[in-house]
Symmetry: C2
Subunit: 594 residues, 2 copies
Amino acid sequence: MAQYKAPLRDMQFVMHEVLNVENHYKSLPHFAEVDRDLVNSVLETGAQFAENELSPINRSGDEEGCGFDDGVVTTPKGFKEAYAKFVELGLGSLAAPVEQGGQGLPPSLGIAMSEMTGTANWSWSMYPGLSHGAINTIAAHGTPEQKETYLTKLVSGEWTGTMCLTESHAGSDLGIIRTKAEPQADGSYKISGTKIFISAGEHDMAENIVHVVLARLPDAPKGTKGISLFLVPKFMPGSGERNGVKCGSIEHKMGIKASATCVMNFDGATGFLIGPPNKGLNCMFTFMNTARVGTALQGVCAAEGSFQGALTYAKDRLAMRSLTGPKAPEKEADPIIVHPAVRQLLLTQKAFAEGGRLMVYWLSTFTDVLEGSESAEEKKTADDMMSMLTPIAKAFLTEVGYEAANHGVQVYGGHGFIREWGMEQIVRDTRIALLYEGTTQIQALDLLGRKVLQTQGALLRNFTKVVHKFCAANEGDAQMGEFVRPLAALNKEWGDITMRIGMKAMSNPDEAGAAAVDYMMYSGYVTMAYLWAWMAKVAQDKLAAGEGDAAFYKAKVQTAQFYFKKILPRTKAHVEIIDAGLESLNMAPEAFAF
Amino acid sequence: MAQYKAPLRDMQFVMHEVLNVENHYKSLPHFAEVDRDLVNSVLETGAQFAENELSPINRSGDEEGCGFDDGVVTTPKGFKEAYAKFVELGLGSLAAPVEQGGQGLPPSLGIAMSEMTGTANWSWSMYPGLSHGAINTIAAHGTPEQKETYLTKLVSGEWTGTMCLTESHAGSDLGIIRTKAEPQADGSYKISGTKIFISAGEHDMAENIVHVVLARLPDAPKGTKGISLFLVPKFMPGSGERNGVKCGSIEHKMGIKASATCVMNFDGATGFLIGPPNKGLNCMFTFMNTARVGTALQGVCAAEGSFQGALTYAKDRLAMRSLTGPKAPEKEADPIIVHPAVRQLLLTQKAFAEGGRLMVYWLSTFTDVLEGSESAEEKKTADDMMSMLTPIAKAFLTEVGYEAANHGVQVYGGHGFIREWGMEQIVRDTRIALLYEGTTQIQALDLLGRKVLQTQGALLRNFTKVVHKFCAANEGDAQMGEFVRPLAALNKEWGDITMRIGMKAMSNPDEAGAAAVDYMMYSGYVTMAYLWAWMAKVAQDKLAAGEGDAAFYKAKVQTAQFYFKKILPRTKAHVEIIDAGLESLNMAPEAFAF
């Protein structure tokens, strides 16, 4: 399998040259001290850790999987040691609050770190990744005592956390969960119920695990307004007594086999209310964007990892001659990268990896603002952009990331199907990204229903204005014409389509459901077009100024051209499918099969 | 996992009502006796076997996989017994020649049988499936003695066969294979070399295995014109002596884990030349269409199997309320089939399964003609249609079948990722269909380069004429207008696009390579549009005549509408991507990453 190599040049291009993070951090009181050198030094430390510690145990972790024996979960060889090193290097606490021992660095730097650990070994990255949800929950809603007791340990990495939401009958529809919380005389609660799909619910990497559990109080209203949050530690802090929560089994999955996906049985376990009663879902929604951007990242990781493997192979593997005559006449055949159909696969991977990287990093700069700004207005603007773009990033990037992972298999031909080469593992590991944290379909409904139609298009206009401004600023630039013209046209079309759907949905809300997924994909392609145009602009300016490595910037412009010419036309199909509306989807359940 | 149920109603619709196979068989001297009752009786026997014997061991076979120990391969529990029953029922010899003990039934009936066994258990179906290649090779090119010795045993199923083509450095590019054949004094040959990816190369289901091996004679010209075919039995007929061919290992794969994919070491193994020396590839090309249609079928099986599982789940699983108000108010939520985004997934699966079924069965009627007609003209027409449509069927149906398999996982949400439910297995098993028997990219080049451009469009016109005739015949039918108008437009556009590519490719052959995959997908969508229009016509005529089950025919028309409204617009994107040409794909190998 191809060894992972952190794409530091491209990461630095995105952070320094496109997003100009140094200035961005300077503008935020909490992060004003973070300069270019610190950014680069963190990236380099992360790159070494990902390349040397995580990448080598990625395939072995997949083959070995997690062990389970009577409630005890064993992670694959090397996982525990890598986690210890991660904690020792302080890599898990980069973006955690200083008050609890974190390094207080901006979330956007944390996400760059997560890209590297995630591409090198997504399964492993799930363990520290799950702690973030618990950390965020406690930091925002915990009492001072809860912060004191739990947060410091979670931030240091001595303990890990989970989010216990799903029950076997209730996934996307959390309103119907059944887990119960009975108040006790001492102010604690007895939690009873069974949660499934709990990532990192049980493992051998940390000394304690803190579960954030969704449950219902006895007098709770039905539905989503009757859900409260509870902290349930595996071992009781202080006494060290084993709490009544136990892993009942682990799932046998298609991929991320080294990540323990646990059934967790709460059998009168002691829990502590966190946040106000019956407001559990509200408390959680605060972090839902962060969690979804974290999952969007998995699409980027898949595209990057698969691209690296495929590129190496395409330069090495010999088959057939180029249609325009031998390119390696001294060999018995040409390397397959000479074939345009192979380059089409590789460029698609590259365009999604690099475009996706900017999308996720850029979104994370809004999180920086939410955490690091002191201006309510700035925060509102950032929050609005996050709200609109997060479901796009989550659904679109995981869909195209999965496509890119499949292209990697395709470049390898039959060898792509063989586990030894590592390409099929990326496909299997990535498949879940289209499901967890809300499926593509759920994200699409969130985007079109809640974010766009329910705001009368206000959130959409926030973003199309940004795009419009970019187009207006560059319309006089001859070299940018090939990007600005189609982008401006799409930006206008986006609003038009939205209007058309909105009109139809007023008479039948199912029209929104029928349009949602195509609308989301359309939005994703347009958003990424804006990002590629932006990158092309930066690269062209550098070329014009004669600064830096011309070959790098030329390739960047060329990839933007590929994206506009060979990917963006997909929007044409989505528009026509959206306009076809609901009618042909109206088949009665009994008419599907005979 | 959902139990497989053979879709007999739809299979009979395709065979009797659309293809009218009874009349078709009557027109072919070799198959004139095959009537409707015989067809139905064969289908019902196959359905019972697939449902009761193969479906139950599909998931257990995936979990257990094949065992390997010092050259010996053990198939999973139940595989051997199912094979014995298959042989006992005579199901393997349906379409084999009567002279060798086969039943002499038409290939199109054999393919319907293969759909059922393949959907129920693709891994298992690989074992008897591989015998077909060997049977066809020996039947066409074997000496009377070779037929006597090998063919009867292969047809009865006592022995199985393989096709040994690939070497580790040579997959699609067979011209560079290295396996050698040294002539011996007794007229036999000593075969030496290593073949990889040999399906059913070793197993415990039959008493002998007959390998058809591609190798080079000592004086063979370089490249594809120096390849000969050899028969290499595992045990020597007569003496029963073990031959010098041994399985070196089996591959660890993403899917079809119960199908043994073997490395075969030929160490001076005794082989017998079959067919003329150095003409091995020509001999093989005769059956390449059949093998590719057999692989196209895997796409249909994936779509059908995944659709069955997803439909069951979508009717059962409760989540959220319909946007237009509760549909199951007595339950805590509505079944997810009420959501248009879920129906979009299901209808996409259904459209690909049923459209793909007709595509494969229809193509097989041309094989019927090639085997059963005595008219050279009929055979030429059938062969031309096969040549044009086979790469489309192979590449397009496996691509959309894989898409459909993924939709099945998506309908299940997080549960789709869990092995227990069986949906992710279909994804893993199907992934190889886009690779073996020539990747999507290779098929696309075959279609656009060899079939379309090299014949100056003659083979394409053969088919567009058929479509044109259909459109002309139905243009006066008001109910058919919604299908005929777009189909006629696409049929014309297809020719126009081809002209444009042809012009560009004259000055730069890489333009064909750049367009090939999108051209193939475009061709697939148009071909399937014709087939859906055809099915809609048959269904509408039945409805007008008040014959049969109106609900079935209405659903058929509705699915055709879905296909035209919600799938066919994808052609728009492909046209624009084709027209964008080669330019943006011209990136130098060293510019892909820095």
